[in-house]
Amino acid sequence: MLFAEQVLTPLSSGWFLENAWLIPVIPGIAFAMIILIGKRMPMKGSELGVISMLAALVLSVGAGYQWIQRVNSASEEQFVSPVIKSWTWWQSGGFEFGIGQHIDGLSVLVLLVVALISTLVQIYSLEYLRGDRRYTHFFAALTLFSGGMLTMVLADNMLLLLLGWEIMGLCSFLLIGHWWEEDVNSKAALKAFLTVRVGDVGLLVGIIMLYFTANDWTREHLGVSGFSIRGLSAWALSGEPNSTVIMIAAIALFIACIGKSGQFPLHTWLPDAMAGPTPVSSLLHSSTMVVAGVFLVARLYPVFFVGLDILGDGGNLIMIIGGITIVISAALAFVQDDIKRVLAYSTVSQLGYMMLGLGAGAWMPAVFHIFTHAFFKACLFLAAGSISHSASHHSFDMKRDMGGLRKVMPITFTTWIISTLALTGVFPFSGFFSKDEIIDNVGNNGYGLFMIIGLIGAFLTAAYMTRATYLTFFGAPRGASAGQSVNDVHDHAAHSPVAHGPHESGALITVPLIILATLALGSGFLNATPFGESWERMKLWVEPRSEVVVEGIAVASESVVVSKNYSPQSEEGHASSVCGSQTPETGVCYAPKLNHAPFKWPKAMISLMIVFLGMAISWVVSFRLYTKRDPKFVGLTQRVSVLRAGHKLLVNKYYLDDLYEKVIVRGIAYPIARTAYWFDQKVLDGIIHAVARSARLVSGWVYRNIDQRIVDGAVNNSASATKYVGGVVQPTQSGKVSQYGALLFSAAAVAALVLVIINT
């Protein structure tokens, strides 16, 4: 309470921040409209998708601008509270499910990235999918896909987040299997969907566990349900949760992230997802879908921070998975001939970096890597699509159909090179500022081994990207790129008559490429640590500040006081932090206190040297192998047994697919199926047959005995008895009055006799 007076500045807000929930609603409406009236529109519904994305982009930019204003209106160490709006979605018993928005720096950042890249990808698709047989449906699914990601990004509670998450899962299935006529594509779509579903079980388990353990606390302290992201963040850092429970919940949630973000060992769906159209790969691999897992970790960071003991001694699950993923997927990229598959493994590897950063407490660099990676990876995919669209007859095979394209496709080549340099982390391209920061912070937080893994990853990234660049743009043109006519196996995109032979793509393709390349070049400067504190705008705007908040009034914690004079070299900065490492005594924390590694040029020089070394080695090897056909290199993997074994391992993708399909699926699913079949045949059918047979016997007996004898017998006998009686009595109906009279009087006499006898 000591410092209460200094932090009471009201935070500014604005229309765009208050109404940010409109951002995912617009694509949702556009989706419905495309489905309903898209085919009758002049551009077959694609204009609706593009317009909705542009509207979402405008709203996101507005929200971003107003968020920066809000941050600037706060004092330096004040926790900038998110703009939360919440409505009751539905109620059931004591459960109340909310729907609403949670806008903070992270949401705004990802909203901007998603909206921008979705817009560019949709514009690109106008040209790329021109004449496709399911053009309208493609745009509908693409729009809904972006809508799902946007919903997830600004969800204020876990259920809404789950909704967006699942919408994306569905749309990824639709989009990857867009050309389902080919068996490979529909199989890839199924694989993507089912693999991600395996992880999704973890998400459900995690959400339910967190709800039931946190609900009481959040209701009491914050008045929100146990689904609320704000409530869960505060609860995780309150010192309240049982460490085992929160650990299991965090692991369950992380399994979902592994599935969605293509981390080892569930990364196998991601390269197969290349079966979809290239714009889909671009969107899927840069800003949506795969980023969702990383985003979830960043969003619920306090839960993971406490549950998995981030910043604790030794490694934790997130770091280990991230580290493994970086190396194994980078190694796989070396044996791919398909340019999109190289990029796919590169994505997996870069997501590994993000996970490594998050696991090592480098929240800001990891989130910044989401931001920069989105631009250069989208650009690389779109460039690959541009090549296949205009130069290589829809082939993505680098060895067979590409080579020497730098002269015919100057724009594609330039954007590709810029993005490649950004991906490999060359100064001053954007990847340098994010990836190097991750590696640096991992080392700074005391995880030396993982820093080395990160550096190995950087070396491998530089090497495989150089190989891909060499095969695509340098050397002699081969196959389709050399103008050879090949049978066009994909008949999905109609060619204009002049489109044959390699040439540069049209403006609808090159303009998005140029915009993305510019961002790949420049976006790094938003958080350029090498140039000092004043360049770290992203840290200022996005990173939540670890300040103790009481009932809407912020109380500056002790750590904040210390950090005023905080110099990175001093020891006490880490030790005296409150949020994260200690339980707040009054109020709640929303973000753990994290360290930031001081930037040092020598360290950066080392990683740059490693990158250049990787490029140089790869260049020399590629040149000798692919152009010179040097006998020392050609066939090396066949001659040397160690290399042969390694190559075989990589070509077979570490046998993970075999493990899943042959061992796990056959080992688990087949016996279950067989047992079920046996049970069905023997037990269920046996019971049914026995019942049927006995029913037949019983009914036969009933027919013969009850129906035929008793029921029919009763009817027939009563009829014949009536007939007999009628025959007997018939003579009395003589019609002779005297006879009737005689009968009447004798009956009266009998009755009189009876009366007399009874009365005496």
Partner: protein, 99 residues
């Protein structure tokens, strides 16, 4: 003894009436036999009325005489019509209701 004589007379009259209804073929005689039966009933009513010292039986007997007169009227009308159709008043000829 006083009562028995009347009751015997009534019983004999009743039996003669029943015999007449059952045995006679002539429809007019049948009607006359029915009158005998009715009058035997009247004698019974008067007998018990005298014995009990009340006049209820007398009242009933008067009613029965009136109803019997009407009945005979209807009955003779029927006989007349039957004779017109059949040229016979034998009840044995009226056996169209034979079952």
């Amino acid at each position: 003894m006083f009562v028995n004589q009347f009751l015997f007379l009534a019983a004999i009259l009743f039996c003669i009436g029943v015999y007449g209804v059952v045995a006679r073929k002539n429809a007019v005689l049948v009607l006359m036999s029915i009158e005998l039966i009715l009058n035997s009933v009247n004698i019974n009513l008067l007998t018990f009325s005298l014995r009990n010292g009340s006049t209820d039986g007398h009242t009933f007997a008067l009613y029965i005489i009136a109803v019997a007169a009407a009945e005979v009227g209807v009955g003779l009308g029927l006989v007349l019509l039957v004779y017109r159709n059949k040229r016979s008043i034998s009840v044995d000829d009226l056996s169209e209701m034979s079952g």
